[in-house]
Symmetry: C2
Subunit: 287 residues, 2 copies
């Protein structure tokens, strides 16, 4: 169990709010402080007990905290980490919850003076198509993968504390480099989102009335926040374009087999895809 | 309420079994007979009370039925309809539950002698990634779209009885031509399935461990039966290839905006997609 005196969460939306709820439920900190950009969100977060205390000032919010978690939109994270580091006490650990890592970790490591404050990149892979603290849940991270990044500059003690922290929230933690993280999420998260946006965006409006469960599931994440996801996509461009080529090759292979009327080749493509998808549900490759 | 003396279901899997359960629950027929290809499925169907009586012989199964529903895989439907028509009583109505319509309805209309037996094409748009009568549910068709096809050869009285039949099961029935049906489902069902198969198939196995809810939802239908879907895809080739071009244009538009680092263009693509997807959940276009 990772225990802290004071945990400060900067950006208390779905993810930040869920961290607050989970920390408070599991009593992992004596005090949980939320730092907000808007008064309206601050009030909502207090109403759903996501944090003990709330402020709109980073300076006061991070004062004396031993763990600071930046859960704001990706593009804002490096700047916020820099500001938080300025006012944090010596030896404080700062982590984040951003969905891309190479850009964030790289920017932060360039800007942070080494030694006084320790930064460790994190990406809890939980969430939903809903944004906002009103959707926060204390169990959001239970059994969810959480990637924690390690670089040559990462302080080993802080790394272990961050790993323990996410494990305490129920997450299954994996440690990898920021580059390996960005490659994984481009394949498993970013590209699937782009494909879902592509499907939802290209369907003529009048056809929507015939949409059944298959379409709804396949496009569910296209209801996600456009600003938030544009941010994520734009900070992981190279890997996303690579992941796109993987997908396109398989997708076009299926279409080609169909257009040729090749039954066994079509079945073969679908079987290979099904065996991977079934592995996710049933825990092993089933074909 | 549409009432029948005897309803015969040929092919009692998820769809056929759910029809049986729903008809029996709502007492829409005095007798529900199931026709099976395999003894093992026959026993399973009787065990879950999907039908009153079961047989492996079409000839006896359809004898005296006033409604015959063919719920077998797409490629088998025209032949089965032809055989069923041969043994059905004069004036019997035959419908199906196939996921493509132009090929099925076209084939059937060519083979059926006009007047004695009436065929009306149907496509109840319900189901799941699971196949088999053990997943059948009496409420499967409630609020699900069901498309019933109308052509120059369609008998109007039979068309109305088939419409009433699906409505009685709780479905929201729409009447359209087989060609219009095939276009709609290519966009709203077939292509989303191909995209899901493409995503699941192209992800390297070792990355699957990081899959969160987004990936799971987006690829859920890739667990569907490969034979069944190859069948569907191959009987709707032209429309699927057209739907593919719609999707690819939007998808590539997003990727291009991302690769150029164009934030506002990326957001704009995502917003338009989100507004359509939100319309599905909240009942209107929300942007």
């Amino acid at each position: 169990m990772a225990r802290f005196k004071k945990i400060t969460i900067i950006g208390v939306g779905l993810i930040g709010g869920s961290i607050g709820l989970a920390v408070r439920k599991r009593r992992l900190a004596r005090e949980v402080v939320g730092v907000f950009r808007r008064e309206s969100t601050l009030k909502k977060a207090l109403k759903c007990n996501a944090v003990d205390k709330a402020t709109i000032f980073i300076e006061g919010g991070v004062k004396g905290a031993d763990l600071i978690i930046v859960a704001s939109p990706v593009h804002s994270i490096p700047k916020i980490v820099k500001t938080a580091a300025k006012y944090a006490k010596e030896g404080a650990i700062i982590t984040d919850a951003g969905s891309t890592k190479a850009w964030i970790v790289g920017s932060v490591e360039k800007s942070l003076r080494k030694g006084r404050i320790h930064f460790v990149g994190s990406h809890p892979m939980a969430g939903s198509e809903h944004a906002g603290v009103e959707y926060a849940r204390a169990d959001l991270f239970e059994k969810a993968p959480c990637i924690v990044t390690k670089t040559a500059a990462t302080d080993r003690t802080s790394l272990n504390r961050v790993i323990k922290f996410w494990s305490s929230l129920g997450a299954i933690v994996k440690v990898m480099s920021p580059a390996a993280h960005d490659r994984s999420v481009s394949l498993i998260s970013h590209l699937p989102h782009i494909v879902a946006f592509g499907l939802a965006g290209s369907v003529p409006l009048k056809e929507l009335q015939y949409a059944a469960e298959g379409f709804k599931d396949t496009t569910r994440v296209a209801s996600s926040d456009p600003e938030l996801w544009a941010d994520i996509f734009l900070t992981n461009r190279r890997e996303i374009l690579k992941a796109g080529r993987f997908f396109e090759e398989y997708y076009k292979g299926i279409l080609k087999a169909i257009s040729k009327g090749d039954h066994s080749k079509t079945v073969n493509f679908l079987k290979r895809a099904k065996s991977k998808r079934d592995a996710l549900t049933y825990g092993k490759e089933s074909v």
